[in-house]
């Protein structure tokens, strides 16, 4: 079994302020996990704002360098300071999808421009027939076609269609790994499921691994194989998605699950959260602890 992505004890600190009021913020601390090249999976990073999930994603994409530890992709170190050729080689393997589909493409330019540039750069060809074919193939994978997209500007399409185009663009180099940073949080409810289902089919049909970053436990449960839960920069629980979410062990995971609004008892207005749970979860912020493996395969952070 070869590893596709190896995140090795990665930390990231940011320094705020300047010479005088210096303050260090630990965005990510000792994150580690790895993805295998043979079994494509949807690996979910769950966290609230300020949990460090986006920083982690940025480091995996090579947009930010870790302060400590390293990230290896197919055994090669991911770094912001790579040369242009290296960067392009990396980008052909790892592609991102972001949060806001309405922002994915420059509103002043045609959508196909990005698809075209991706195809030309990563397939290293100038042959328009080849480029067109690659674009169409990628669009077919997301349920669109080049005919529908060609010549259109972003404002002429719906949020769901735009997000599909963004995913299609990312798929053009046939990357084995896709990083999806909150891909559905800005998409309307009626279109959300079509994106989530699409991610699922990318894994099942195209064998693409997806790192799915979200704060939504329900969709994470719905599509992911494994997940990690992050609290203020630290992984507090990691393991099989169903195992973890069915019976979370860490106090913070428990609190998150308890805070998910359930529709099972719609209309009953049950909104109380046990205050003890909140205190328990917040009390652990800032404590180091360490991740300990459990017999059921998951790892939970324990303290003291």
């Amino acid at each position: 079994m070869t590893t596709l992505l190896d995140v090795r004890d990665v930390s990231k600190h940011f320094t705020m302020g300047g010479i005088f009021g210096r303050k260090t913020v630990n965005a990510v601390m000792d994150a580690r996990f790895s993805l295998s090249a043979e079994n494509p999976e949807i690996f979910t990073i769950i966290g609230e704002s300020g949990s460090g999930k986006t920083t982690l994603a940025r480091m995996i994409l090579g947009l930010e360098d870790p302060s400590e530890g390293e990230i290896l992709f197919r055994g090669k170190k991911v770094t912001r300071h790579a040369g242009r050729a290296e960067k392009l080689a990396f980008m052909s393997q790892v592609q991102p999808v972001f949060q806001n589909p309405f922002e994915a493409f420059n509103p002043l330019k045609k959508i196909e421009r990005y698809l075209e540039s991706t195809a030309r750069r990563f397939l290293q060809t100038r042959d328009t027939a080849v480029i067109d074919r690659a674009m169409d193939e990628a669009l077919q994978k997301v349920g669109l076609s080049l005919k529908e997209v060609r010549g259109r500007f972003p404002h002429e399409m719906s949020g769901g269609q735009l997000q599909r185009c963004a995913i299609a663009r990312a798929l053009i180099p046939n990357p084995p790994l896709l990083i999806a940073d909150e891909p559905v949080s800005m998409v309307d409810a009626s279109l959300r499921m079509s994106i989530v289902n699409l991610l699922k089919s990318l894994r099942d049909d195209l064998k693409v691994s997806v790192i799915y970053i979200t704060h939504d436990l329900a969709t994470a449960y719905y599509i992911s194989n494994r997940l990690i839960i992050m609290q203020r920069g630290r992984i507090v629980e990691m393991g099989d998605a169903r195992t973890v979410l069915d019976s979370p062990q860490h106090p913070y995971s428990k609190l998150l699950k308890a805070s998910v609004l359930s529709t099972d008892d719609a209309g009953d207005g049950k909104l109380e959260t046990d205050p003890g749970m909140v205190t328990a979860a917040n009390g652990l912020v800032g404590q180091a602890g360490k991740l300990v493996a459990r017999p059921d395969g998951r790892e939970v952070r324990v303290y003291g």
């Binding site: 609230e48 998910v260 529709t263």
Partner: protein, 342 residues
């Protein structure tokens, strides 16, 4: 059954725009009839550009060009007398503002003046409608804040010094400090983390119960409605397509759009394949003929393409605008609790 606090009848509100010589009419609210009862939480659900924002602007008597009420009426029945939004004079609007009708706005970050201390903002907003000043006013505000679990020190703070959850509680405090009878809450929890969201929701619910105020709660998130609303109304393309008690809406929807919205909510502990709704919401400047949902509707027949269905009574308190409501089934076999008409 409780009395109505507001009756909306045949409301049509359009944006009439003239931009560099091109005039456009967007039918944001296109014939809505509904009522909200005293002391209830009425949830309004709808996607972006469904017209729900324009609808609540009219409800809040915040109609400003280019938005215009073209037809219909919005009649409030406040303690100090009736109030009709479409014909109210600025003086009349001022008289009900905050004292009877208040508003919780979305985006807690940007609704508070960044260069003004919270205490000053409270003074600006509430001193006049409450008819109190100085110490008496401050005491009342502090007492109210205590109810929202906010320390009196927040009055001395600037907005940027508070966390997102605190700020949202401050805006709830601002909206409720005068004990209004009718509160509009526009996506008050959208930008919040789940833990804080639940806290804020339960706070809104508690304070609403305590003051026995009517709340119109607007959000696109159906799981929020499931937990705070007594009744839910769904707006699609400027029209109310279904309205009913929250449980019925979730377990026995009678409109394919509602059925879809409910079905597309994944749940922890359930990995059944969830259906996706294809197509895109209609353009309100040029809505489709007939039922506006028909281009996306799996049940659509010829009649749907030609004639717009009226809002029909289909159960106690339950109305829907669908020619084929009898054929609508819940899309994912959720086990309906007993006592719900299926």
């Amino acid at each position: 059954m409780a009395e109505d606090i507001v009756k909306v009848e045949g409301l049509k509100a359009y944006y009439q725009m003239n931009y560099f010589g091109v005039s456009r009419e967007v039918r944001a609210v296109d014939g809505i009839t509904m009522t909200v009862r005293k002391g209830e939480v009425y949830g309004i659900a709808g996607e972006s550009s469904s017209g729900k924002t324009s609808f609540i602007k009219v409800l809040a008597a915040a109609i400003r060009p280019p938005l215009r009420v073209v037809e219909g009426s919005v009649k409030f029945d406040f303690k100090n007398g009736p109030f009709e939004v479409a014909t109210a004079t600025p003086r009349e609007i001022e008289a009900v503002r905050w004292k009877h009708l208040s508003y919780i706005m979305q985006g807690s970050m940007s609704v508070l003046n960044p260069v003004r201390r919270i205490g000053r903002t409270f003074h600006d907003f509430a001193s006049r409608p409450m008819g109190l000043t100085g110490k008496a006013f401050e005491d009342r505000v502090i007492a109210h804040l205590a109810r929202l679990k906010l320390p009196p020190e927040v009055l001395k703070a600037y907005p940027h010094e508070l966390s997102g959850g605190m700020r949202q509680r401050v805006t709830i405090g601002l909206a409720t400090v005068c004990h209004p009878e009718f509160i509009i809450a526009d996506e008050p929890t959208t930008a919040l983390d789940v833990v804080v969201q639940k806290e804020v929701l339960s706070l809104i619910r508690d304070i609403q119960k305590e003051m026995n105020a009517a709340v119109v709660f607007v959000t696109h998130d159906m799981s929020v409605h499931a937990n705070v609303a007594d009744r839910v109304g769904i707006i699609y393309a400027g029209r109310l397509v279904e309205e009913g008690p929250t449980r019925d809406m979730f377990f026995a929807p009678k409109h394919p759009y509602t059925a879809h919205l409910v079905a597309s909510l994944p749940r922890i502990g359930d990995t059944k394949q969830r259906p996706a709704l294809e197509g895109r919401p209609p353009n309100l400047a040029d809505p489709p003929q007939g039922c506006r949902f028909h281009p996306r509707c799996p049940l659509a027949v010829d009649k749907c393409r030609q004639e717009a269905p009226p809002l029909e009574q289909v159960g106690p308190d339950h109305r829907t605008a669908c020619w084929r409501w009898q054929d609508v089934k819940p899309l994912v076999g959720a086990s309906a609790p007993s006592g719900v008409m299926a």
